[in-house]
């Protein structure tokens, strides 16, 4: 036993250094406290009812749905990177695909946790399967998200099995290997499921023909928001993966993924962003000038005061147009801070998009004699979101500490 190393060093990935166990446990305890706070909120919500939240009859959707949509979009790095790596065989991506899978796993399981809180009767959640309404976009979401969640678990398991000590067991070794062989299949199923439910999540809003703020026409049974959600997810997903990776590098002080791979991810996301931006702007233009007028409404009527002001609309658009341009221009893209900033702006824009569709779409009074009301999430909603953050940070910390998530790590940190 080497006493210069942390006591759990035997479990570390081959050739990698990690902080002391004490320090690690300290970090985990901080997360644990946040986790318990969220757990308290969750218990209250499950025990007393959703009245414990800040939602009301005008805002049946709030922070939680915004959160779910945002993390599911940002977690899309998993399926998209996976598809590029395993189906299109872009080999460099193997250096980040593990992280993308873990992030995807965390985002989806986190969203599932919030959904359990968000539905009023969690004990009846299986009705979604047993009595499905095939016309509902939400049914599709329920099916695909749960199925994809299983896929993500299957993608996450091999990484756990690759732990140095576990891999010593031949059975697990073989199992992990088998998983890897089947990974392209998982990636394929994942890509299919994920594309559909990302789209369905967008479709959920686009089909609401009673809500002029949200309603969109579309192609066949899918409103335009269906495609916009897919595009926004595939552009922001890889970017979010890079951002998380960079954050982990800053926190651990170790290089984990090479700049080139990140650039590649940025390029991939940026390319998708171009498509998204073009369609998004077209959609907004058509909506503002044509669709609303057909319903007797004006663009101005969609906004109110500061909290539901136009700044959100302009910011959402600016934050995809600027990154699109910057990521297109090579010299700019190569400036690290600018690169990261652009990724961040894109992720912000996607989050704003999910927020305005969820909250502002409901706030906009459709009946002329109705009024604008405001919604603010209360502590219980925030706490349960932080529960997911804490859970994600804990799992990510464990995965980083004990599994070979980053194939390049050893090489990049050679002294």
């Amino acid at each position: 036993m080497d006493y210069s190393k942390p006591v759990d060093a035997e479990l570390f990935p081959e050739g990698c250094e990690r902080c002391s166990l004490t320090k690690f446990m300290g970090w985990m305890s901080i997360l644990g406290v946040v986790f318990l706070w969220g757990l308290y909120a969750a218990v209250r919500v499950l025990g007393f009812g959703l009245g414990e939240t800040g939602m009301d009859d005008y805002f049946g959707f709030g922070l939680w749905i915004t959160f779910d949509l945002a993390v599911i979009a940002l977690g899309a790095g998993a399926f998209f990177t996976g598809a590029l790596r395993y189906i299109l065989n872009i080999d460099e991506l193997k250096n980040i695909v593990n992280l993308a899978a873990v992030i995807g796993f965390l985002c989806y399981t986190g969203a599932m946790m919030i959904l359990v809180l968000d539905i009023g009767q969690p004990i009846r959640c299986w009705f979604g399967y047993w009595y499905p309404n095939v016309h509902s976009m939400l049914t599709e979401v329920i099916f695909c998200i749960t199925c994809y969640c299983i896929v993500l678990i299957l993608e996450f398991v091999p990484l756990v099995l690759e732990n140095r000590q576990l891999m010593k067991r031949p059975f697990i070794h073989a199992l992990a290997h088998n998983f890897h062989v089947y990974m392209p299949i998982f990636a394929g199923i994942g890509a299919f499921l994920s594309t559909f439910h990302q789209g369905s999540l967008g479709g959920m809003y686009g089909v609401l023909f009673g809500r002029p703020y949200l309603f969109r026409e579309g192609f066949f049974i899918w409103p335009w928001t269906f495609f916009l959600f897919v595009l926004s997810a595939v552009s922001s997903g890889p970017m979010f993966t890079v951002l998380v990776c960079t954050l982990m590098e800053k926190m651990s002080g170790r290089k984990l993924v090479s700049w080139e791979v990140k650039q590649l991810m940025g390029k991939v996301g940026g390319t998708m962003l171009i498509v998204y931006t073009v369609f998004k702007c077209l959609d907004s233009w058509y909506w503002a000038t044509d669709m609303l007028a057909g319903e007797g409404l004006t663009f101005d009527q969609m906004f109110h005061g500061w909290i539901y002001g136009k700044w959100l609309f302009w910011m959402e658009h600016a934050f995809i147009i600027i990154p699109m341009i910057v990521l297109l221009i090579k010299p700019l893209r190569e400036k690290r801070w600018l690169f990261y900033l652009m990724l961040f702006l894109t992720c912000t824009s996607i989050t704003i998009n999910r927020y305005v569709l969820t909250v502002q779409g409901l706030a906009q009074p459709v009946m002329p004699f109705d009024s604008w009301y405001t919604y603010a999430p209360n502590w219980a909603e925030w706490a349960s979101c932080f529960l997911v953050f804490a859970y994600a940070a804990m799992v990510l910390s464990l995965a980083y500490r004990y599994t070979p998530m980053f194939p390049q790590e050893v090489e990049l940190n050679k002294k």
């Binding site: 009767q121 004990i123 009846r124 299986w126 009705f127």
Partner: protein, 690 residues
């Protein structure tokens, strides 16, 4: 067994469980559990019955069918066969089955212990106490009743009279000033209004579609004269400071400053005289020349009503075949006699007296209980004069004070002296159905049955154009330990060996029906209601212009803003407070959380520099200060704030307590010039942002 064996055993077990129904059935059972949680009340089953009777909680005696399931009332539904209210309901009457079991309902007799807390006692003990206290009090006993339509009053007044006391009062209501006015103008019977026969009604200050008169009947009339999607068969003009529910139904709204009713009526008189309507009676010349001073310009300046609307209203009256003018107060009590006199004069000018569709001279209800005070004599007595005198020490406080079906502590201004009277009286007894503010002041609280739980009656309410008589019949057992108030008083009289001439409530009701020629059997068995067009020989009316002039000299209240109270029946009455099911009917422009909402128009708000949603302090002339939330509503006069009445309860239950402020707290008792009548309902306030 080794580990591998165990794993296989577990695998087999899993397969077996999945292949057996228990997991899947339990999934279902768990859902059934969520669908039938034990802590959520289950429905009762049984036979439904619909029994016609009348409401005793709703001031208009709404006729309804009480639906019972296995004998328990669950709903009240308008009774289409009721010849008075024709199936029309009020928000209050619609809530009566729920009010019957509301948390504020009194369950047992309560006696106040020396430390101030209430102790539940038995009826035997309560009756013993009641007998002792009445015997001890002798002639020093007073009583007030808040239910003028009930013949239970006769039993109570008979007890008082036989004890040697004449201090039996009605709570101040809309009729008392009207009776004064009618008499002053030469009326000999009871003032009645044949709204049904009229083709154009001008209601000045009287919210005829919400709280004035026999509201349910007024509404059914409005219904019949305004066919769905068709032409209105009757024009309704409403003058008031706020575009309230009545204004919403009216064909024309005259925005009239609070307290300027007389000026408006005199201005209308001037205009109709000019148009050639001058029904002759003694004093016409003097009245006409007095009214001539009320030119449209002047009236418009005083009342705030735009001149063209005054003229439009006058034109409508002149052109109508059977116009009818009604004056009343927004609050339903504390109104002025002067405005009713002016309204009578206007009706006289229009020829609308003692004819179909006009003012009628109805007979007053008569007493059938031995030694009881007649309705008319009780109506003439002024409760607030009495309580103020007792409070000031000018009159000896009674040794025993009864409060029956009334909540004067809440429903009268703070300086009315009621609280002091109760405090000073030797012993105070409240007979009520709900734990009101007044009950909380009394020494003994006796739970009274509701109309649907006991025998009671509704004699012609004020505002009617006919003589009507309806019985309230016991449809259900009294809630908890409540008892019929009528039977309680009859039993008390019997204990005291007093003579009533009736042995129980059915006999009392029978005697009343007999006196009116009403079909008692059908009323008792089927809930039939008696109505009759009975009018007295036409009274020799005259234009008592001097009394009108005196009353017109009343000064307005001082303050930057006038308070215009709005009464809505959904808020209940002072006796019931807010029914549990009405809290959602209370709007966000009436109440916001703990605060009353003061509505004002944009110009007023700009002047006060307040925005919608701001907290505002209102300070009244009597230095009472309340905090309200401002709301902008353009259907209200400048420099006026509207507050809804019925808030600010400190008793009752969680549905009423601690919500907003009592608008009556802002008012003070004044004396009307000429008649000397105690009046209130107007309040001037100063406002500042809180």
């Amino acid at each position: 067994m080794d580990r591998r064996g165990f794993l296989k055993f577990a695998a087999g077990g899993t397969v077996g469980l999945v292949a057996s129904p228990i997991i899947w059935n339990t999934l279902y059972d768990a859902v059934y559990w969520t669908q039938n949680w034990g802590w959520i009340p289950r429905l009762k089953k049984g036979e439904s019955q619909y029994v016609p009777t009348v409401s005793k909680l709703c001031p208009s005696g709404t006729g309804f069918l009480v639906r019972t399931v296995s004998g328990v009332p669950v709903r009240t539904i308008g009774d289409k066969n009721n010849p008075v209210t024709h199936g029309a309901m009020t928000a209050l009457a619609a809530a009566e089955a729920e009010l019957r079991v509301s948390p504020a309902r009194l369950k047992t007799p309560l006696r106040r212990s020396p430390d101030g807390a209430y102790i539940a006692i038995s009826w035997a003990e309560a009756e013993k106490l009641l007998k002792e206290k009445t015997q001890q009090a002798g002639a020093s006993v007073a009583a007030v009743s808040g239910d003028p339509t009930s013949s239970i009053n006769e039993v109570l007044s008979s007890i008082l009279n036989q004890q040697g006391s004449s201090d039996f009062y009605f709570m101040p209501d809309e009729e008392q000033p009207a009776a004064v006015a009618w008499e002053a103008m030469g009326g000999q019977g009871r003032l009645g209004y044949d709204m049904e026969g009229s083709d154009c009604i001008l209601a000045v200050g009287a919210p005829v579609l919400e709280s004035w008169g026999v509201v349910a009947a007024n509404r059914s009339l409005f219904n019949r004269t305004h066919p769905v999607g068709g032409e209105a068969g009757q024009k309704l003009i409403y003058a008031g400071a706020v575009q309230n529910n009545t204004a919403a139904g009216a064909d024309l709204w005259l925005p009239m400053k609070s307290g300027t009713d007389m000026a408006l009526l005199l201005g209308m008189a001037h205009l109709v005289i000019k148009a050639g309507k001058n029904g002759f009676a003694a004093g016409l010349g003097n009245f006409a020349s007095f009214a001539a001073a009320y030119t449209p310009e002047k009236v418009s300046a005083i009342t705030g009503v735009p001149q063209e609307r005054l003229e439009a209203a006058a034109k409508a009256l002149v052109e109508a075949k059977k116009p009818l003018v009604i004056a009343g107060s927004a609050l339903g009590s504390g109104g002025s006699a002067g405005s009713v006199m002016a309204a009578i004069a206007l009706n006289m000018l229009l020829g609308s007296v003692n004819r179909e569709g006009g003012l009628l001279d109805l007979p007053y209800p008569v007493s059938v209980v031995a030694h009881a005070t007649d309705y008319r004599d009780t109506m003439r007595k002024r409760f607030v004069d009495y309580t103020q005198n007792v409070a000031a020490g000018k009159t000896k406080a009674p040794a025993l004070f009864f409060v029956y079906a009334a909540n004067p502590v809440y429903s009268l201004p703070a300086d009315s002296g009621v609280k002091e009277t109760i405090k000073k009286s030797g012993y105070s007894v409240a007979v009520a159905s709900f734990m009101s503010e007044t009950c909380e002041e009394c020494d003994l609280v006796l739970p009274a049955a509701l109309g649907m739980e006991a025998f009671d009656d509704v004699q012609t309410p004020y505002g009617s154009g006919r003589v009507t008589y309806a019985l309230a019949r016991p449809v259900a057992k009294p809630f908890a330990d409540a008892r019929s108030a009528g039977e309680l008083f009859i039993a008390l009289a019997q204990e005291l060996k007093l003579e009533l001439g009736v042995k129980d409530m059915p006999e009392l009701l029978y005697k009343h029906a007999y006196a009116l020629g009403a079909p008692f059997r059908a009323m008792m068995d089927e809930g039939a209601v008696h109505t009759a067009r009975v009018t007295l020989p036409a009274s020799p009316l005259f234009y008592n212009w001097e009394a009108i002039r005196a009353a017109a000299s009343a000064r307005g209240e001082e303050g930057d803003l006038q308070v215009a109270p709005v009464v809505v029946l959904a808020m209940g009455t002072p006796q019931t407070a807010i029914p549990p099911f009405a809290t959602k009917v209370v709007t966000d422009y009436q109440l916001k959380g703990r605060y009353s909402v003061a509505q004002m128009n944009g110009a007023t708000a700009a002047k006060l520099k307040v925005n919608a949603g701001d907290l505002v302090k209102l300070v009244a002339g009597n230095n009472v200060q309340i905090t309200v939330v401002a709301a902008i509503f353009e259907g209200i006069l400048p420099d006026t704030v509207s507050l809804v009445a019925g808030l600010g309860h400190t008793a009752f239950d969680e549905f009423s307590k601690g919500k907003g402020s009592n608008v009556l707290a802002l008012t003070s008792v004044r004396r009307e010039p000429g008649t000397g009548l105690p009046v209130w309902g107007l309040a001037g306030v100063k406002a500042a942002r809180a």
